[in-house]
């Protein structure tokens, strides 16, 4: 009974939180509506060229300067070709779904593809599940603007797989069945443990899914001019379709196809970049250092920190750390979340249940590591290539965050051969981005619905007494509901800053899930008390720290910053000869700062300024999660859990008595 109460209380809390979150959107959304309709009214062709338009309100206020800046670049996609490519991807994946639906008969088929995925296939699928549009477009963008720091940032995403390979992959294959709850509930009280494991899985998946959905909507709007809401609904319908009808088989193949497309795109583009560099890596780096545009860009970047650099020194600085990642503790904190969090991500863990043996699980991680690592090394070439051929100034004029660098590079490299090839290549990479989004969100929806349907419905509510037909039905209904919620959250979160949600998802996985997984598999004294306190403290600590971190918006801090900008700009204006006005960019900044300076109030949790100075909570929340798990286990010792350790330990090492994914 108590378990039901706990569960009801938790779901109530979650829905209240969701409602509060949805409320949050209304105010800014209403305020921004007129601003959004303004660029749309200028006609469709212009829509693709307008980079993310949070400044749209400001641009209306500027006194229309005549000529645009000469560095202004545009990213124009050929809509016919691009939409054609999207259609091809949709058609292929739909074909996969129809084929997969025929083989999805049992729960094992739905959640784990009947254990019938080979090591190699799973390796590609892991890579496809893991590399989001953020790594595809974002990291090369960071490299193109900040050089070395972007490259350094990418390293942690690969190193994370050492933890997956050495600590979790094989034991999970041997000891689990479909979900995180299966691993954790082996020698503990199954019901409360499953309920909490499911809540944590849903939390991690929701954070990650929200970031992906919002990113997808904005990307589609930018690339092919499909309005944000339409994009979210379109992506959502496809994702629900893959998961509901095709289950794990379809999701796996969508991920494999995506990984293949992504690698071919990255490989082809880097090949073109290397052809231009004459396959001479040393010459390639010398070109970076001696590029006047990069030198100019770097001198402006370091000037903000009060450092004066120019010429070759500035160029060389591009290859040195510290242009972007300025807070070392934050970096270490993020590194910890990546290295430990990847191994606690439910959608990654779930992939190990699709292979038949521990050997196949091992092989799949190694293959995934070569694909992912290879991809990040190619990304360096793309990022530096973009910096050389497009110039950082050109890249920021399209998108200040540099997210369009890879796509612009594809168009230019192709167009250097023939204009139509530029369009084709750009369209191909847009399609890759599209496939990337679909593959990642499908994996997340599947993981979240497995937690709800398998852990909560089948094992908590129905006590494990549900036949195959009922289990598959429950899984499909849940996937549909989870997907629908994903679409609604995506629609509601349009105006929210969601960038920190990815880091938050990894932090929760690293602080909540991973400690309890490791301790369950390797520590004799671990038990129910430990699992619950570890999951609760790890999850709440990470979310709580982010709520009081600089990731949230602090109106008073924004206003203080804006006042400084206003003062600086007015000084600049005063220094100008009479009759002359500020440049377009400065005028825009002034208008925006004047609006921002009026802001007042507190952050979501009622703070004037951040309590916790790091953006990534891992460095505090991970030790807290481990400590809570250990103390919780010691506080509530359980003989049965200790006695069953031999069984868990022998099983996870040898695979004896492994829950065969194929059951009839």
């Amino acid at each position: 009974m108590t378990i039901k109460k706990i569960f009801i209380a938790a779901s109530l809390a979650l829905s209240v939180a969701a409602a509060a979150y949805a409320e949050e959107q209304k105010a800014p959304a209403a305020g921004a509506a007129p601003a959004m309709s303004a660029p749309a009214a200028q006609g469709a062709p212009a829509a693709t060229a307008t980079a993310p338009a949070p400044n749209a309100a400001a641009s209306v206020a500027t006194p229309a300067p005549a000529a645009p800046a000469p560095a202004k670049r545009e990213l124009k996609t050929n809509k016919t070709i691009t939409i054609g490519m999207f259609m091809i991807i949709i058609a292929i994946t739909m074909g996969v779904v129809v084929w997969a639906a025929k083989q999805t008969k049992s729960a094992a088929d739905f959640y784990a593809a009947g254990g019938g995925i080979t090591g190699t296939q799973n390796g590609w699928a892991i890579a496809g599940d893991y590399m989001s549009a953020a790594s595809f477009l974002g990291i090369s963008g960071l490299i193109s603007l900040y050089g070395y720091d972007g490259f350094m940032y990418s390293v942690g995403w690969l190193v994370a797989y050492i933890t997956v390979l050495l600590i979790v992959a094989e034991p999970c294959r041997n000891a689990g069945k479909y979900t995180l709850g299966d691993i954790l509930s082996f020698r503990t009280s199954p019901k409360p443990v499953r309920a909490f494991a499911a809540i944590s899985t849903v939390a991690v998946s929701t954070f990650y899914l929200t970031a992906q959905m919002v990113g997808a909507g904005k990307l589609m709007a930018l690339l092919v001019g499909i309005p944000y809401k339409m994009s979210i609904i379109g992506v959502g319908i496809l994702m629900v379709g893959y998961v509901v009808f095709g289950g794990m088989v379809a999701t796996t193949w969508v991920q494999i196809i995506k990984a293949g497309l992504l690698m071919s795109g990255a490989f082809l583009l880097s090949f073109l970049v290397m052809v231009k560099a004459g396959f001479n890596p040393i010459g390639f780096f010398s070109t970076i250092v001696s590029s006047p545009d990069i030198q100019d860009h770097v001198s402006k970047l370091v000037l903000k920190d009060g450092v004066i650099l120019s010429g070759m020194d500035a160029g060389q600085r591009f290859l040195e750390p510290g242009l972007y990642l300025k807070n070392p503790l934050d970096q270490i904190s993020l590194g910890m979340a990546l290295v430990l969090g990847t191994a606690g991500m439910p959608h990654i863990l779930m992939r190990f249940f699709t292979v038949p043996t521990a050997q196949a699980a091992r092989k799949s991680v190694i293959i995934a590591m070569f694909i992912i690592g290879g991809f990040y090394i190619l990304t360096t070439l793309l990022g530096f290539g973009a910096a050389i051929h497009l110039t950082p100034q050109g890249i920021t004029s399209v998108d200040p965050g540099g997210n369009m660098a890879t796509l612009m590079l594809a168009q230019q490299m192709g167009a250097d051969i023939a204009p139509v090839i530029g369009d084709l290549f750009l369209a191909f990479l847009c399609a890759v981005a599209f496939a990337t989004i679909l593959a990642v969100v499908s994996g997340l929806v599947l993981a979240a619905s497995a937690a709800i349907a398998h852990d909560i419905y089948v094992n908590v509510i129905k006590d494990g007494h549900a036949d195959q037909h009922e289990q598959v039905f429950a899984a499909r209904v849940t996937s549909f509901v989870v997907g629908a919620c994903g679409i609604m959250i995506g629609l509601a979160a349009e105006k929210q800053n969601v960038a920190h949600l990815v880091a938050l998802a990894f932090a929760v996985a690293a602080s909540g899930n991973l400690p309890v997984v490791i301790l369950s598999l390797f520590w004799r004294k671990f038990n129910t008390g430990g699992v619950i306190s570890g999951l609760l403290v790890g999850t709440i600590a990470s979310i709580g720290l982010v709520m009081v971190s600089p990731n949230m918006t602090y109106p008073k801090v924004v206003a203080a910053g804006a006042k400084k900008v206003v003062a600086a700009m007015e000084k600049k204006q005063a220094a100008l000869p009479a009759g002359q006005t500020l440049a377009e960019k400065d005028a825009k900044a002034l208008a925006k700062a004047k609006v921002d300076a009026q802001q007042d109030g507190t952050s979501i949790v009622g703070l004037d300024k951040p309590l916790f100075t790091l953006k990534n909570p891992g460095i505090i929340s991970i030790p807290l999660g481990f400590m809570a798990a250990i103390l919780g286990a010691l506080a509530f010792p359980n003989r049965r859990s200790e006695e069953m350790f031999d069984e868990v330990y022998v099983r996870q090492n040898t695979g004896l008595g492994m829950a065969k994914a194929v059951e009839h």
């Binding site: 070395y148 490259f151 350094m152 390293v155 942690g156 690969l158 190193v159 797989y161 050492i162 933890t163 390979l165 050495l166 600590i167 890596p281 040393i282 780096f285 010398s286 970076i288 250092v289 060389q316 290859l319 040195e320 750390p321 510290g322 990642l325 070392p328 970096q331 270490i332 590194g335 290295v339 050997q359 091992r362 092989k363 991680v365 190694i366 590591m369 070569f370 690592g373 990040y376 090394i377 031999d646 069984e647 330990y649 022998v650 099983r651 090492n653 040898t654 695979g655 004896l656 008595g657 065969k660 059951e663 009839h664």
Partner: protein, 103 residues
């Protein structure tokens, strides 16, 4: 599916299993800690000893770049080495254990 009954306690005390367990634990946690230390040297070094990272090694390519690139090869190296040892030793020990138990 009829679950086979195993005497887990007896298997856990089997000398073959104990050997497997010792070898595996030492290998896995040892290399895991090594990879973590090696990885965290990158952000820590970049932040606190930027001077070393700026030392030019090949043309304009500096130590920082080579070190970051080496992270990829070190990770791959550990993965391949683990795969080699696991296929050769751990899997063999597991097979021998299972044979011995007549399973």
């Amino acid at each position: 599916m009829a679950e086979r009954q195993y005497d887990w306690k007896a298997i856990a005390k089997n000398p073959k299993f104990v050997e497997l367990h010792h070898k595996k634990t030492a290998f896995l946690f040892g290399w895991w800690i090594f990879s973590c230390v090696y990885y965290f040297l990158l952000p820590i070094g970049a932040a606190y000893t930027p001077g070393i990272f700026k030392v030019k090694m090949i043309g304009v390519i500096n130590f920082g770049y080579v070190f970051a690139l080496s992270q990829f090869f070190v990770s791959w190296g550990i993965a391949l080495y683990y795969s080699h040892v696991a296929n050769k030793d751990f899997d063999r020990l597991t097979r021998e254990l299972i044979d011995e138990l007549h399973l």
